[in-house]
Every structure is written in structure tokens, then in C-alpha cells.
């Protein structure tokens, strides 16, 4: 079964534990500038929204890469940057409609979410379950359950 990162912004408090976990996973630092997941604060709306790569099936970053440095992990479905192959041309950063693949000046390569080989550190670190790693075919399950709960199934009240 393939899994997918599932983000519920309503549960996010903006604590940035996910960003630290991501930075630690990839760079052994808590410096959140290195995180591949970003939490955005829409202050005047009172909303926090974590955002990262959604691993498009038809991944434009992968298609655009001239040196085939972005590969599909058949197990997790993640599109993974092969650092030794990447030439840092940044065409993928232009091709991605969502901005979730970015250049890293320190390495001269690009980086994006790789789902941590199937155990995403951000989801593990999230204290409110705003970020979860769930059955890719059923990311809507929670919402369905919520609506199902609102369904009136008692004929006596009709």
C-alpha cells in the first residue's frame, strides 16, 4: 500500500516541530532554513498552513530535468533528487507549479521532500496530527467520517 503525506491545516499551531525534524533528517541541524516543509502563517486570518511537495504522479520537475536527476521511488511514490546527478540548473524549480523544489546554494543541488524513505520525520514530529502519513488512496477518509457523522440516520426525527 502506498502512503501519502496528508496535511490538515486546521490542526496546525505553527510550532515548527516539523521544520526542525525535516532539517535534522537531512542536515543534522534544527536550523529551519534547511527544512523542505514550510509552515506559513496567515496572521490576519489566524491560520497556519504546512506546505510541501505532494509527489505529483505526472511530476513536472522530473519531466523537466535535463539530466534525469529526479527519479521515482516505486515503493513510496516519492520523486527523489539524485544529488550526484543533479547539475543545479534549477529548471525543475521553474517547472514545478507549487514551488516545492528549491535550490540549495550550500550544495549547488536542488532539494525536495523525499518522504524520508517512507517514514516522514515531519509527520512523526507533529504534535497535533496536522501532518499525517496515511493510505494514499484514502486521504479523504477523515473528512468523509466528519460528514458521515453529520448524517441524520434516525427516521423517527423525520
Amino acid at each position: 500500500m502506498q502512503k501519502s503525506l496528508h496535511i490538515d491545516p486546521n490542526k496546525c499551531t505553527g510550532c515548527l516541530q516539523c521544520e526542525m525534524a525535516c532539517a535534522w533528517e537531512n542536515y543534522r541541524t534544527f536550523t529551519i532554513a534547511k527544512s523542505r516543509i514550510k509552515v506559513f502563517s496567515f496572521h490576519h486570518e489566524g491560520r497556519f498552513v504546512p506546505y510541501t511537495c505532494t509527489q505529483c504522479d505526472e511530476a513536472w520537475c522530473m519531466t523537466a530535468c535535463p539530466v534525469d536527476a529526479i527519479q521515482l521511488d516505486p515503493v513510496t511514490g516519492a520523486k527523489i533528487v539524485l544529488e550526484p546527478t543533479c547539475v543545479g540548473c534549477k529548471v525543475c524549480t521553474i517547472a514545478c507549479p507549487f514551488g516545492t523544489i528549491n535550490y540549495v546554494a550550500q550544495t549547488g543541488k536542488v532539494q525536495k521532500c523525499d518522504l524520508c524513505d517512507g517514514a516522514p520525520a515531519c509527520a512523526k514530529a507533529c504534535p497535533t496530527a496536522a501532518i499525517t502519513y496515511v493510505d494514499a488512496d484514502w486521504t479523504g477518509l477523515d473528512k468523509m467520517r466528519q460528514w458521515a457523522g453529520k448524517t441524520d440516520t434516525n427516521p423517527a426525527t423525520v
Partner: protein
Amino acid sequence: MAWTKNVLRVNLETGSCTTEPLNMEWAQDYLGQRGLATKYLVSETDPKVDPFSPKNKMIFVTGPLTGTMAATGGRYSVVTKGPLTGAIACSNSGGYFGAELKFAGWDMVIFEGASAKPVYLLITDGKAELLDASHLWGKTVWETEATIKKYHQDPQIRVAAIGRAGENRVLYAAIVNDLHRAAGRSGVGAVMGSKNLKAVAVRGTRTDAYHLADPEAFFAATEAGKKVLAANGVTGQGLPTYGTQVLMNVINELGALPTRNHRDIQFEGAMAIGGEAMHEKRPTDGKANLITNGACFGCTIACGRISRMDPGHFSIKDKPQYKGASGGVEYEAAWALGAANGVSDLEALTYANFLCNEDGFDPISFGATVGAAMELYELGLLTKEEIGFELPFGSTEGMVRLAELTAVGEGFGKVIGLGSKRLCTKYGRPDLSMTVKSQEFPAYDGRGLQGMGLAYATSNRGACHLRGYMVSPEVLGIPMKMEPQATEGKPAMLKAFQDLTAVVDSSGLCLFTTFAWGLSDIQPQIQAACEGDWSEERLLLVGERIWNMEREYNLGAGLTGKDDNLPPRLMKEPAKTGPQKGAVSKLDIMLPEYYQVRGWTPEGVPTAETRMRLGV
């Protein structure tokens, strides 16, 4: 090592920014943040210095756990001599600023001297520069942050700034970071204003800023700590749901909610301004005041309130900038802006709180000062002509109007900006000032909770709930239940709380963790992050050392044991209603015992033996 071991020294007079290594011997004795910065301050300045003199220094400081995955590991403090109290000032803030400073590679920034013209400090990793802030002077905190981010084309910069209150030296001006988190008390913002320093802007991207001593042990300890916070009723449920406002009705029912400048000890309007009320849908627009809760950096509790006002409320008609969401009232702010002056309009409190954040002033001292002004007005000592409008207890319009006037120093706002002590002295009734060492009480009555009374009287930064939170034992039963009116055992318990608090405030963690965490939860996290042996015994000794160092500073500044007092109202006027009816403070019984357990003389001076033992 969880210290970056780098200190940035900024001379505002010459404009120089220099790097020096952190004194690691001191770090071993004072840990970080509150303790370490105070050590620097006492070593480099004369305690008798005028707080607004260029000779006073101001230190922004992080702790070893700031900028780590430890729950709440994002705190920083500002340490200086406070203009409100003339005592040591140490104000602690959350948000994201502290962690960013650490990621840029700095444990602390020491500001010395004063700039001839307005400047702001921009730190980008190892590079620090003072930039012209003429265009920012006169702007609010919110405008300043937006302008700096836009000018440098970097939305990821974190900003700590003063608003107009700090520029105009309101004696309780705050330094506000991330729009609504504040180093709030004792007037640290006014010191920043006196140095012509408008803001500190930081961008930190270093991957090698610091290193954990033992990463594996660190993750084990911090994950265990997070589980404890999640499972605890206060940190896992009460605080995320209601914020600190969970206390409003609890404290009111217990009869310890100071009301109308402490004339009363229960507020009939408490229900309307408490945590539960923030969740209720307003009849006017069908929406609740509270939108959601928010966390500071790394915090798994998330007690912060994000509120949106009723767009039709009289205070914000034609003011679109207040119609979006922003930082809502915490308990202390709701109490000070509300109960302390008899106002029970939650929307008005939210508006005044927005103003406190926007222009950088402490809602506790501001609200309490308004309460004192209202009493002077009712006694006929202050007139409508002097104020410009009527100001009886319960005047929502009056409170709101003063909130608008105080930061900008207009009209009677200029007097309100001096704080309660100076206000009441000016009008001939210093006894009506509800302060200790000229700093206003927060939201617990020292008659209703005897231990809190002692905590206020002995706090090193003037009346404060965050130096020894005796509400924990006296109300919440943490770590053990103590009856509010009992005095037995309270001095020793307070000492333990004060010392532990000094440790937490020096670590980078938030004090609110101690609703759930004991030292045994905190110690392994510090141990795993910092090299060396950080046993519980040693940490408590560090805490006691910090407390005594602050005390010595205050004694050097000219304060004495006589300043460990409470206003006559709390000593002589019995509580009128509720479970604590008839109570006055029994400070005279507790204080001598407190000095004794501290190892101080009957005059409140650390004995030679105590000094020797602590190495102060």
C-alpha cells in the same frame, strides 16, 4: 555543546559590531539566558546606573535549549536595568525570534552606549550591521516589521522591535517580536528606545550554529518530555483550549481576582472576559472572539490566543487594520485591562491588547495603572478636566481611550505611561498604587493567595507572577496542595519555585512546561544538550545562585529589605467577599522565615556564608 559560544557586542555609540567568545566558565555556573546575561550585566555595569543612561547595557540572550526540538525550546530574554523599578529587569519572550538568533550563530547580543540617531541591527548569520532607522522612528511594531521585511526582500527575517511606547519611554514599554510575542515587563522597551535602537532583525541559516552533546539522548529525553506535556491536563488540554485564560473563572471563584484596583477580590464580570467567553459566539455577528490557538517556536502546548474582533465594535469603527486576526488576550492581560478597572467588554479588552502589541507596551502595567487612575478619579483627586474625559471604574470608553493615548504620549496618556506608582504619588496617594518596587501586580491577589503575596514582595523584578508561581501549589495542587490562607511551609516552597524558575528561564524553555514537568523531566534534556555534568542538585544550585546574584544587583542599586513589601491595602483592608473573605496578607509572618531559608540576614542581605556557598 548547545551554546553557539559566540557573543555579539554592539556599540551603539561607535556603531561597531564585534564578535567575542562566550565566557564558558560563566556558562557552567549560570547555564544561559536569564542567568548568563545577568552575570554579564552585573560584571560590566554599575547597578546604580540610570536605566536610560548610555552606560546601562541591554542584552538579548538565548538559552542552550533555544532553537532545539525540545518542547517550547524557543525562548529568549532581554536583560537590563529596568526604568520602572530601578531593579534588575529580565523579560522573557517566545515567538520565533529567539530560535532565529541561535540559528544565526549567537548566544547573546550585548548592546552598549546609545546611538545618536535611530538605528536597527540586521543580523544575517555571522554578519551584523547597524542600519539607519530614521524612516522607522514613529512607526508601530507592526509597520516596522513589515517595512524591514519588504526592504530586505526577505519574508523569513524575524524582527523584535519597539513601537511608539518604547520611543516615548513609557516606563513599561515592551519589546515585541513576531507581531504579538513580547519581552513584556519592567520597561525593557523604554531602555531600547533610550538607546535609539528601533529593532533587531535576524535571519539565521547556519547548519553549524551549535552541536548537541548527545543527540540520541537528546531525542529520548525530549520525546519523553513531550509525552508528559501531552498527557497532562493543564498542558495537554486546559492551555491549548483556553490558554492561560483557563484561570479567569477559577481565580475569581476562589476569591483571589483583584478587582477595581484591589478594592474588591472578586469581579462580577469575570465570566464575560474569561477563556470560556472567548469561545462563545457573539450575538452581534455570530462569531467567536477566538479563532484558534497558536504556538511559539517548538511548543507542543500552544497556549497562544488568536482572536478576531467584532467588526462592528465601537472601538474599531473605520479602523480596518484591527479587523483581521491577531494576538488575543491572555489571562494577565484580560485581568489587567478588565477586572483591574472593572471593564467587562471582551472586545474592548481585545482591542486594547492589540494596541499593546502594535505599539509595544505591557498590558499588565497599563491596565493596572488605569485602575489606579479610576480610583483617584472616583476619590475626586483626578478630575475630568485633567484627564480630558470621565474615568469612573467600569468605563470601557475611558480604558480604550487611554490605550490609544499612552504609547503616543498624548494628553493624559503621558501620565498613564509613568505607571501606577508615579501616578498615585503625583496625586498624593502613593498608598493606592498596587505595586511592589513600582511594578504593578499581575492577576492574583496577595490576600487571597498568601504565597503569591510573598512571591510578589520578594520578586527581584518587582511584582510578578513569573518569578515564583505559588498559584501552582495554592490553586492547582502542583507539586502538592497548599491552602491559600496557610503560611506554613510557604517560604521554603517559594524559594524552591524561585530557584527552579531561574533554571527554566536560563535554559531556553518556557516556564509553562512546569505545570507538567518537574526538574527530573527538564534535567535530562539539558544534560543531553550541554556537555558536562548537569545534575538536578547542580541545576538547583545554579538557580539559587542566579536568584542571589539578582538580589545583590538590586541591593547595589539601592533597594533594601524595606522594598520587599506590599501596599497597605493588602496588609490592612480585608478581602470583602468570597472564600477568602476577611483575609489580609500575612507577609509579616512569612518574610522573616523567607530570609532565613534564603540564608539572608533579617535585613534581607545574603550572609557571607551564603555568598561563599554560591560563589556570588
